[in-house]
Symmetry: C2
Subunit: 145 residues, 2 copies
Amino acid sequence: MPSSDGTTHDLADRLHSAAIHLLRRLRREDDASGLPAPQLSALSVIVFAGPITLGALAHAEQVRPPTITRLVDRLEAAGLVNRVPDPVDRRIARVAATPKGVKLLHDGRRRRVASLAVSLRELPEKDRFALAKALPILEKVVRAN
Amino acid sequence: MPSSDGTTHDLADRLHSAAIHLLRRLRREDDASGLPAPQLSALSVIVFAGPITLGALAHAEQVRPPTITRLVDRLEAAGLVNRVPDPVDRRIARVAATPKGVKLLHDGRRRRVASLAVSLRELPEKDRFALAKALPILEKVVRAN
């Protein structure tokens, strides 16, 4: 039963694995974007949290400063992001997504969600219902610290 | 109702987001490993799919060959992986995890799962039950193509 500690640990382990494998599967849709995964991941943070400093971006992506500089250089060369001055302290550079960057990210997200929706439509309705019932709980867990 | 197409699309969208945010939250536990996220991700593939060729690893990580070479160099310098000859064609190099690499990955996984289990234990039992009921369905979706 899910109330015992052992089973809660097992539930956590399987949920963690399922999230990893779900995203690995959906990431295949990203090939169409033509961007390597680290650039796409950084672009995602820039779109949702930008304009962002290089330091904050490196922290979010858990990479070292030289790596984030290289990633941003490539995204900038592809016309997907721009370096913009901080409105308060002009010595601080921030990175913002261009309309092209926003579109590339949203197109990619649309492909992933469409692919997942196809799989969900193949489920028996009772399974889709069980997923829909569990989703708000999962969202609550994600928000928790 | 989750049977309509619009709602299935919404379910897919929210499930995709929840998986991303769950992993972003659990990834914070990885700071204790001292490894940047791209190295940890590559190490994970090497542990679970290795000995693996650099090409297959680059494909799995969706990065370019120079990036994977750099990542593997760093993992090798840290004593976490070794380059080993292919048993059939010795011109092909494969990458395998060392016992130290396996341990680092498993320790990290244990920290993530323990953190998630703490959150799950805080849920009302009926919520944990709903998650446990949805999990095999999610696992089925993940395995589907």
